[in-house]
Each structure stands twice: as C-alpha cells, then as structure tokens.
C-alpha cells in the first residue's frame, strides 16, 4: 500500500506541475515582484526535484500542509470537515443503491421476461443514463417546491441528507439492479437450487436463503470501487444541494491548481479505494465458502 501511495503521489506531483498555469494566476496579473514573494513563501521558487523531496518528506510525516486557495486552513482540516459529510451522504446513497438495486434485481430475476421485469429494467437503464443533475432537479421540484418535505439545499439536519443521498444512489441502484438480475438468473439455474425446489422450499426462501449469497459476489466486487467514489462525494450533487463535502474540492483543487489540497484528496481517495478493495476481497470468503484466502 505504501508503494501504491508513493507511485500515486509521484505521478500526481509531476502531472500537476506539468499543466499550464499556477496557483497564483489571477485575471489581475500580479506585479512580478509580488508574485516572486508569493512563490518564495510557498517555496515554489526552488528547483522541482527539491520541491518534490520536500513535499514527499512532509506527506511521509502525514503533514499535508496548507491549502493554497483556502489559505486559512490546513489540508487536513479541510478533509476532516468534508469527509464525514461526504460519508454521511454517501451512506444514504449506498443504502439507496443497494436497497433499490437488490429488490428490483431479485424481482426481475424471479419473473424474467414479464412486464414487471421489463419495466423495472427500463427504469434501471433510465437511472443509469440520466445525469444526476436531472434527477436532482426533478427531486427538487417534487419534494422541495410541490410537496415541501425537504430543504432545497444546505447542511445541518437529517432532512438535508435525504435528497442528495438519494440522487447519489440512483445511478448505482440501476447498475446494481442489472448486476443482481444477471447473477440471480445464473444462480437460479444451478443444480443446488433445483434440489432446494425439490425439497419444497418456496420461491422467497430460495432467493433469500440459498441464491442471495452467490448473487452478491459480483455486486460486492462492483461496490468496492463504487463506494470509494460515493463516499468521497459527488461534485454535481454537492453543488446542487450545496453539501459541504469533499466532491467539489476535488474539482476546484484541480482547476485552481491548489497543489497541496489536490494531493491530499488524491491520497485520501487512493487510500479509501485500497481499503475498500481489500474489504471486498475479504468479504468473498464470507459469501462463498469455496473461496480460499491466501
């Protein structure tokens, strides 16, 4: 993992500096002297390999430094404030995705080819295809203006959590529904399911007790990387609902050349991705006894 993080760090470091523009670009071009003072202050006047070593040293000591653009904050403060919020929204999103996806997928698989199946799968495709800002707009019109249940945007109570969480989850729910349907159909055609049928277990029992675990395998391997994305926040949804999570920072740090913040976010994302993928591998053992962990 340390090696992965180091490689990601190195590649991002040099990529960031290779892009034109720098953190002090404004429309009002700075007086050359003022800009030189600024660069000296952030040690950007040093040769690039020296900057690299200095920054590597800092990051190794878990010090991500100060943000260039949000100068009053340390990168760690920004991440500590934003990550829990993104995670909270992400959890609602994950719950939506898994809940809706599983139910729709199972129902479709049990009655393949029926009207129900066709309409559920069409919905799933729409869910995947619709950009989140469209879903968000529909949700806002419905549940903010027509039926005033939820606040339009902002942060502070559980009610602020529902709409953004739902909008984050819907596209994933679509994908999960399709995954579950395919996997479930395959599992249901297996011998041991026929045995269970023969024993007289009902459809519900078969699906829930016997087929579910194997069906979950592809879903779980899909969820690992997806969860890393969901938990670190979605830019579009965060902008529309003004959720102060991490998603917007990703984009802004990149466009504003906030070197330190961008690096911090990349490392956090890499770390999350790594941890979640490891968890996915571990959970295979729980779901399928045939899988051996070595």
């Amino acid at each position: 993992m340390v090696i992965t993080l180091w490689v990601v760090f190195t590649v991002s470091f040099f990529l960031m500096r290779a892009v034109p523009g720098g953190p002090f670009d404004r429309e009002r071009q700075l007086d050359p002297q003022v800009e030189a003072n600024l660069r000296a202050r952030y040690q950007l006047d040093k040769p690039i390999w020296q900057q690299y070593l200095m920054e590597l040293g800092r990051v190794a000591r878990l010090d991500l430094g100060y943000s260039y653009r949000l100068g009053d904050f340390r990168v760690s403060e920004i991440i500590l404030q934003g990550l829990p919020i993104s995670v909270a929204v992400g959890i609602v999103g994950l719950a939506t995705a898994v809940g809706l996806g599983l139910v729709a997928g199972c129902i479709s698989a049990v009655r393949p080819g029926s009207m129900l199946d066709v309409s559920l799968m069409t919905l799933a495709t729409i869910g995947i295809a619709l950009p989140s800002f469209v879903i968000a707009a529909v949700m806002i019109i419905l549940f903010v203006f027509l039926i005033p249940l939820f606040p339009a945007a902002g942060w502070g109570t559980w009610r602020h959590l529902i709409l953004p969480g739902f909008c984050v989850g819907v596209p994933y729910a679509g994908s999960i529904a399709r995954l579950v349907r395919t996997a479930m159909l395959e599992v249901l055609s297996q011998e041991y399911i026929r045995t269970a049928h023969a024993k007289g277990v009902g459809t519900g029992g078969i699906v829930l007790r016997h087929a579910m675990k194997l069906t979950l395998l592809p879903v779980v391997s899909y969820l690992g990387p997806a969860a890393a994305g969901i938990l670190t926040g979605s830019v579009v949804v965060e902008k529309i609902f003004c959720v102060p999570g991490l998603g917007v920072h990703f984009v802004e740090a990149a466009t504003q050349r906030d070197y330190t913040l961008a690096m911090g976010l990349i490392l956090v994302y890499t770390f999350l991705l790594f941890v979640l993928n490891t968890l996915v591998d571990l959970s295979y053992r729980l779901l399928d006894p045939r899988v051996e962990l070595r």
Binding site: P20, E27, Q29, V34, A40, G82, P84, F241, C242, V248
Partner: protein, 655 residues
C-alpha cells in the same frame, strides 16, 4: 462443520454486520452533530467559500463582503454614494500640495478584545502589508506612498538606509514577532571576490571556505552586505557561512524612510510620491484595514484567523467558519459605532451554484442573493420586480485583440471587427439583466461619481463601413481572411456571447471565426503568453477613477496582454499621474482613452450590472456602482417580515 464453530461463525458474522451498521449510523450522527443552530437575524449567499479573512491577503468580492464586516480602515465608503466617510479616523487633513495626509484616529477606537487601537497599530499593519514576506496582492496599490515600493520589492542600493532583521527575537517577544532589527546604511555589497563599496571596508578572512571551494562556486554564494550600524561596520550574509559575517532574515529598505508614521498615539501621517485623487477612498478599501499586532504576533498566519483567536475592529466578529457551508458573524461589542449596527447575528452562506441560490431564496433560507441565472431574469422581473435590484457596475466586459498577430496587427481589421458587433443583440438576447452596451473602455456609470469625465466612445455599429475597411485591408467580403478564434474561460455566459459574436462576424463580414474554450488557469496562461487572437476579458475597478480602466493598456502594465504599446498613450498616462490639477488630469485621461478607442487593442462590449435579489423586509440595502453593500447599514424590518408568512416567489405564487 462442527455446530460450535458454526455458531461462532454466525455470531461473528452478525457482529461484523452490526458493527458496520453502527459505524455508518455513528458517522452520520457525527457529521450532523451541529444540527441545532439558532437562526441568524440575516442570511445571505456569498457565492463560494472565501479564501481567507486576513485583510492583507484577500482579493475578490466574496472575500470583500466578509472582510468589510470584520474590519474597518481609516475611512469607510458611504453605502450609496461611495464617498469616503470617517472610519477609524474621525477626521483628516491634506496638505496643500496633496502629498501629505494626516489622519486623526478615534481615541475611543478598540479592538474586539477591548485593546485600544492606536496609530502604531496602523503603522505595524501597513508595514506587514508591504513586507515581502506577507506577499499582499494589493501591495502595488500602496506604492503611491514614499519608499513603499522599495520596501516591498527588497531592492536596495549602495548608500540606502536599510533595516536588517536578525533570526534572533528580542527577549520577551511574542512567538511570531519579527526578529531583532538593526538599522543602518548599506555601504558595501560583495559578490564572491567582487566588492562594490562607497567607503573603504575591512577585508574578510577570505581564505577558508570561499577561496578553498571551486572557483565557479564563488558566484553561487549569497552576496555579503556591509552595513554601517551607528558607526560600526557589520557584514551580513544569508546563512552566515563566511567567517566574520552574520546570518539575517530580511535585509530591506529601512521602513523608517517609508512615508508612514505615527505622529502620536492617535495621529497617523502618510506621505505620497505624487497626488492621488482617490487616496481617501482607497483607505476605505478593505485590504488596507489594520490587523491586530498582538493577535498576529501571538499566533501567526493562518492560525490567527481562526474563530476564537481572530481579533477584529469592524462592526462584526467571527463566530465560526464551516468550510463551504457558512460563516457566522456576531456584532462586535467594542465597535465605535455599535449603536448603529442593527443585526446581531449574520450568516454568510458559501453557496456557489446560481440555481441553488435561487432555490434557497425562494424557500426562505436566504435573504439576499447577489446574482441570479440569466435565464430566469425575465421571469423574476415579471413576478417580483420590487425584489430585483439591477444597477450599472464600474466594470467593463470586453474583447482583447492580440495586436502582434496578423491580421489583427492592422488597425483597419480591428476597427472592422469592432464595427461588426451588434452589442444591443448581446445584451438583449444573452445577458438580459439590464446590461448597457458600451463603446468606451471606461464605463459610463463612472460619470455618476465623476461627472467631469467624458468617456470616449469607439466606432459605432456600422456594417457597411466595417465591410469597406475589411476590403481595404485586403479581405473583400472576408475572402482569404486567416483563421482566427475567440478564447474564453469555461462559462455558459461567456460561451453564449462568443457564439453570438462569431455569428455576427460571419453574418456581417463573411469571416469564419473559431471558438476556443479553456478552464480558468489555462485561459490566463494563454492570455499571458499571447497565445490567442481574440480573448474575452472583464475588468471591475477597485476604485472610482478612469485611470483604473486605462492603466492596464499602458505598455509596461502586466495586464496588457494585447502587445499594444503606444508611446503617446503611455506618455499621457504618465503625465496624468503627476498632474495636480484635477480638471486637466481628467482631460489627459480622456485624450488617452480616445487614442485607445481609435486604435482598439480591445473592444468594449457592455457594462456589468449588479443583479441582487433582496427580500422586501431588508432595509439599508443600496444600489451603487461597486455592488458594495456593507452589513453595517443593513437591517431587517421585522414588522414587515411578520406579515409575509411565506417567502414570496416564483413557485409559491404559481401554486
């Protein structure tokens, strides 16, 4: 499988499941921990997270709205007329030659922790502002002051009075205070073996390190500065490696020779290099507010800006800051004019999206949004015209032309392009917020504040003449016109305007123009490198004076990306800078603008407008050309607010 292990595995699995669920739930609760906030008296949207609250480091209007509520300079602007009013200084005197300003500070002025605010605090703050280490972006605006430029740029010459800051701190100093400072005269600079000096100097023991090292290294060694401190000759070198030298932090032009001085506890004197008619107004601009020396020296930047540590001198203090959520301000009990500050708690929302802002406004979660999406303006005008405040701003939207690149190096081509733009169509079809077409670089609203200035207009919209000029330049009917493109930074509005101009040039001149869209940083970089033909630009003035719009086209201005360098124009600006007669000065500036509008290195398109949506019960909100709405003057009419049960808006009315 043994029943016992099986049971264990089951409980183990349930345990994991329960643990994960608990973790998720706990996380959600933790993230929502600050849910029960008491509501604020007034809430407004500030379009994004601000960069900092340190006045010396801010730029940008979002930062300005917060900083002007927290801090106050020597003067402050009238909320409607923008004229300089007494701020921290209750009165001032200007010498007859317009060069020396004496400000009389309020004896009762205090910092928000109760410490008295003195002229020394201002001197300390201006010094910090100008110090190269602070790297204030607005530093150049204070270079009107005697010696200020030399101080910021750390350019010192032989014979200059200098101050040397040592790494050691005086005993008992605060952790972030400056080091011990020695004052003296720079008498010698020694780079390697070369010595430049004005008096005979003792020779350093050169033998050990520098002579022994390779000859090429001598040049890389930091220079040695010889300073005469009270008759004693001292040698300073960065790092202090050469024997006989001392290490230092900063070696700068002596601040005692910069024209900022505390005459006594409540009297501040500022001396300028040349008269600056807007200097009093400039002193009301938020970057030039004082900062508390005791607070900054105790915590250092950025730690001193944290809520709880931040000490301010304006109408409000900082209660808390949540990144990209909100900033809460509370009334400052030590503010000199506290009796006229009527809002106790103010929330500043960091909502960026225009549509989200509109949603918040119409659901009653914010009382003022400073901008609305262009598409809904006609609808808003129809539904709630009394809540929409649109007023011309001191800002120009224009297109830059790269005069170094053919065919734009030909003034006839530039004129033809300018004459083939129908500005009316732009403001009516695209921007739609009441922007006024503009044919001069200096926006016409300037004449509200300075009626003596007459903005000089460029050529009118005239297709026939444009086609004639283009033919004269060698491109009849646009034939063989080289491919050029319009560069703009990513934004729907800029794109829509560029598309319209593209269509107009095609329609009226028969030339094909490409569009080039780059995100902000890349766009700025292209502009600076001169890698563009036509580039979109906008300029909003920091102070009310025509020179703000003209200065950026002078040959040596870092803002001049057009490669246009006109000696006569430069000369007129330089003369205007030193002209003491205000009338003559404005005439010089008008002549300069006329040259600019004949040569057209830039084509002005329209004048910016403010687009504020403000609830009817909000009082003390005035429109002005700087879109400046000090919180100090805003208050809420609670009687009226009580009569409006629901926020009045698009949706609630249509239901």
């Amino acid at each position: 499988m043994e029943p016992a292990t099986r049971f264990l595995r089951r409980t183990y699995r349930h345990f994991i499941a329960a643990g994960v669920a608990l973790l998720f739930f706990g996380g959600a609760v933790w993230a929502l921990r600050a849910s029960s906030l008491p509501p604020a008296d007034f809430t407004f949207s500030n379009l994004g997270e601000i960069k900092t609250v340190d006045p010396a480091l801010v730029t940008g209007s979002s930062e300005g709205r917060v900083v002007e509520a927290l801090f106050e300079g020597l003067t402050r602007w009238h909320p409607e007329k923008l004229t300089p009013q007494p701020g921290m200084a209750y009165n001032w005197e200007i010498s007859a030659d317009g060069l020396t300003y004496t400000f009389f500070l309020r004896p009762e002025a205090r910092w928000s922790d109760g410490t008295p605010l003195t002229a020394e605090d201002f001197v300390w703050s201006f010094r910090r502002f100008l110090h190269p280490e602070t790297a204030a972006e607005y530093a150049a605006e204070l270079w009107y002051i005697v010696g200020a430029k030399k101080y910021t740029s750390a350019q010192i010459e032989l014979g200059d009075p200098v101050e040397v800051e040592l790494p050691e701190k005086p005993p008992g100093a605060r952790p972030f205070a400056r080091g011990i400072t020695l004052r003296g005269r720079l008498v010698g600079i020694q780079i390697g073996p070369d010595l430049q000096a004005i008096t005979p100097l003792p020779v350093l023991p050169q033998d050990p390190p520098s002579a022994a090292s390779a000859p090429g290294n001598a040049k890389d060694e930091p220079p040695i500065y010889w300073v005469d401190v009270d008759g004693e000759l001292l040698a300073f070198q960065k790092g202090g490696k050469t024997p006989g030298t001392r290490d230092y932090q900063w070696l700068l032009y002596d601040f005692a020779n910069v024209g900022i001085r505390a005459v006594d506890r409540h009297r501040l004197e500022i001396r300028l290099r040349h008269p600056v008619p807007y200097f009093l107004a400039l002193m009301g601009f938020y970057p030039f507010s004082p900062v508390p020396p005791h607070c900054v020296e105790s915590f250092g930047y950025p730690e001193w800006t944290k809520p709880g540590k931040l000490v301010t001198n304006g109408p409000y203090v900082l209660e808390f800051r949540r990144i990209r959520d909100r900033i809460r301000l509370r009334k400052n009990p030590y503010y000199w004019d506290r009796d006229n500050v009527r809002l106790e708690v103010v929330d500043v929302l960091a909502v960026e999206s225009y549509t989200t802002n509109l949603n918040l406004y119409f659901t009653g979660q914010t009382d003022w949004i400073p901008i609305v999406p262009a598409e809904v303006i006609p609808e808003i005008r129809r539904r709630c015209p009394e809540e929409f405040h649109s007023y011309p701003l001191l800002g120009t939207y224009y297109y830059l032309l790269n005069t170094a690149r053919p065919p734009l190096d030909d003034v006839r081509v530039r004129r033809a392009l300018a004459m083939a733009i129908d500005r009316k169509e732009i403001v009516e079809k695209v921007t739609r917020a009441g922007q006024r077409p503009l044919r001069s670089m200096v926006p016409t609203v300037l004449t509200v504040s300075i009626p003596e200035y007459i903005p000089q207009e460029g050529p009118q919209f005239n297709v026939a003449e444009a086609r004639r000029l283009l033919a004269e330049a060698g491109f009849p009917d646009g034939r063989e016109f080289p491919p050029i493109d319009i560069l703009y930074n990513t934004s729907e509005a800029h794109q829509a305007i560029a598309e319209l101009v593209q269509a107009q040039w095609q329609r009226y001149l028969g030339i094909r123009v490409g569009l080039r869209n780059q995100e902000w940083a890349a766009y700025l970089s292209s502009r600076r490198r001169g890698d563009f033909y036509v580039a979109r630009a906008g300029w909003i003035a920091d102070y009310v004076d025509p020179i703000s719009f003209l200065d950026m086209f002078s040959g040596d201005s870092p803002l001049n990306n057009t490669r246009w360098n006109h000696p006569e124009f430069n000369r007129l600006l330089e003369r205007a800078r030193h002209e003491t007669d205000p009338k003559l000065r404005l005439e010089l500036l008008a002549t300069a603008e006329r040259i600019l509008m004949e040569e057209l290195p830039a084509i002005p398109l329209y004048e910016y407008v403010s687009q504020n949506l403000v609830r009817p019960y909000v009082r003390g909100f005035y429109s002005n050309p700087k879109d400046f709405h000090p919180l100090k003057h805003i208050w809420v009419d609670y009687d009226l607010k009580a009569t409006i049960h629901r926020p009045k808006g698009l949706w609630s009315r249509s239901r």
